[in-house]
Symmetry: C2
Subunit: 306 residues, 2 copies
């Protein structure tokens, strides 16, 4: 079993690569839920959905989020009625949100709903939230704390980040199925090339999660989301800089501290000072071939570290 910790788009790309190589029962993708929020009465889980749509082949390559072949009649009408349209939900994407919200209200857990939806979309690998308890990432800025989506989507990640908080993480329980997978001697724990600050650290902030990863005995391998000082997508490099560290692969490795045994990073990038064993790979994932190739490199690193 490979246990992969993931945020949205970058993590989903590697997860798709891993899903091409592994039998479905040997891949568990653990999704960050710190980005989750309630909007228009809907329970929104961006990273779960990006993973689900990507593994189902339904992701929207133009947007980088949401569903393929999407239409926007509802959002257009909502805007015409004076409703909030800053967080865009396509007509097809809305169906998933309505269904999830109704089932959560009826008492089902986020993990049960997530698991059912991925099955219905024909995904073999498991996708599970890091916890069924709410965790909400908040961004500290010069003008105060902002809810994550307000900062990320509402303000296009503009205000400089001074601090990050995971509200609720202190009393959220890691999902039992994730702990069980970690306890069952996985082949590796893979930290996907996601934003360390806002995609991976909420997962690691859950009480007992770091300990469970360390106790698993599995090699822990992170893939750098930084290539040549740039993030492929999203505000990773910006957050590093605003928190006072130049955005480098080495800075990513340093964020995970003693947790890592292996670190997969781009060929030409500077590896000086990286404590875990370094594996070189082509980490930019454009094509499916790129994703499979990086996944193969990650599995090879896991093999080398056993």
């Amino acid at each position: 079993m490979i246990v992969a910790l993931s945020g949205g788009i970058g993590g989903a790309k590697l997860a798709l690569g891993l899903a091409q190589l592994l039998p479905p029962e040997e891949l568990l993708v653990v999704a960050n839920t710190g980005d989750d929020f309630e909007h228009l009465g809907l329970a929104i889980s961006p990273d779960i959905d990006t993973l689900t749509y990507t593994l189902a082949g339904l992701d929207n390559p133009e947007l980088g989020w949401g569903r393929r072949d999407e239409s926007w009649a509802c959002m257009e009408t909502l805007a015409a009625l004076g409703g909030p349209d800053w967080f865009r939900l396509g007509d097809r994407d809305l169906a998933l949100h309505l269904l999830r919200t109704a089932r959560l209200r009826a008492g089902e857990t986020l993990s049960a709903v997530t698991d059912d939806i991925r099955r219905r979309l024909g995904i073999g690998a498991r996708i599970l939230p890091m916890s069924d308890d709410p965790v909400r990432t908040r961004i500290g800025t010069d003008t105060g704390w902002l809810d994550f989506q307000d900062w990320f989507v509402g303000r296009r990640a503009g205000p400089a980040v001074r601090a990050i908080d995971f509200a609720g993480a202190g009393k959220a329980r890691p999902l039992p199925a994730v702990l069980a997978a970690l306890a069952a001697r996985p082949r590796a724990v893979v930290i996907c090339p996601s934003n360390p600050f806002i995609s991976i650290e909420p997962i690691l902030a859950l009480p007992g999660m770091r300990e469970a990863i360390q106790a698993s005995g599995a090699p822990v391998i992170a893939v750098s989301p930084i290539i040549a000082g740039q993030a492929v997508k999203g505000p990773t490099a910006k957050i590093f800089a605003e928190l006072g560290t130049p955005p480098t692969a080495a800075a990513v490795a340093a964020r995970y501290g003693g947790l890592l045994h292996g670190f997969v990073m781009e060929e030409g990038d500077e590896a000086a000072g990286i404590a875990p064993r370094v594996f070189r790979a082509a980490t930019l994932m454009r094509s499916l071939e790129d994703k499979v190739s990086l996944a193969r490199a990650v599995l090879a690193a896991a093999e080398a570290l056993r």
Copy 2:
């Protein structure tokens, strides 16, 4: 001021006719909310919406409900995900439902949200719910009680009606703005050609509503929804028959008892035994001209009864 009590499609047609003849500030349409329900976490008010879409010129003439130029991407996707699709909500219609639901959850009243939406859609006449308190029509059948939409849409109004109950009506307060309009000496109270059992009687069942209508001093005029023993649309004739009364215009007038001063009915129909004064008109409303013509007949009846 004309105060019109209305259900969905038939009532909305007459309301549209009245809106063509009256200055906007002289028409108040009071919508039945007994058909309202929660579905997929959304607050659904079918009669308010039919009135709103009809008066805004956005009604869907093919379906007889919902919005014009509608698309169904969300519902199709919901069905594919195994979600409930028996109550169909179009992509554009969903926007109104999301907005209303979010605003109700944020503490606004149904009347405030309804009033704001009709303004945004450019409707001059007022459309208000009969009450801001929930009333839920339930249908007694041979196999037990059913929620109204479960009976009406879910079972296509199939199970024979043995009894009808308006849950919550006993403690729901008539909308203060409606009581105020009735207290301000309206020119007439018009009971639209809606289903008496399920569209008009929930309004009349509110404590104090009948009394307020009677105390208004205005002529009360009903328009028959039955023409030649048939309902133009919906289960009106079926319910009459199942409750043991042949569906006739006279039976409609009898349902409203002593409340009526005038009764507008189709030319050739039998008027024997009808207590209020009978006015003959063409009551089938196909074209806008038909609607305006019937509205003119109703206003003439009001004039005659003053």
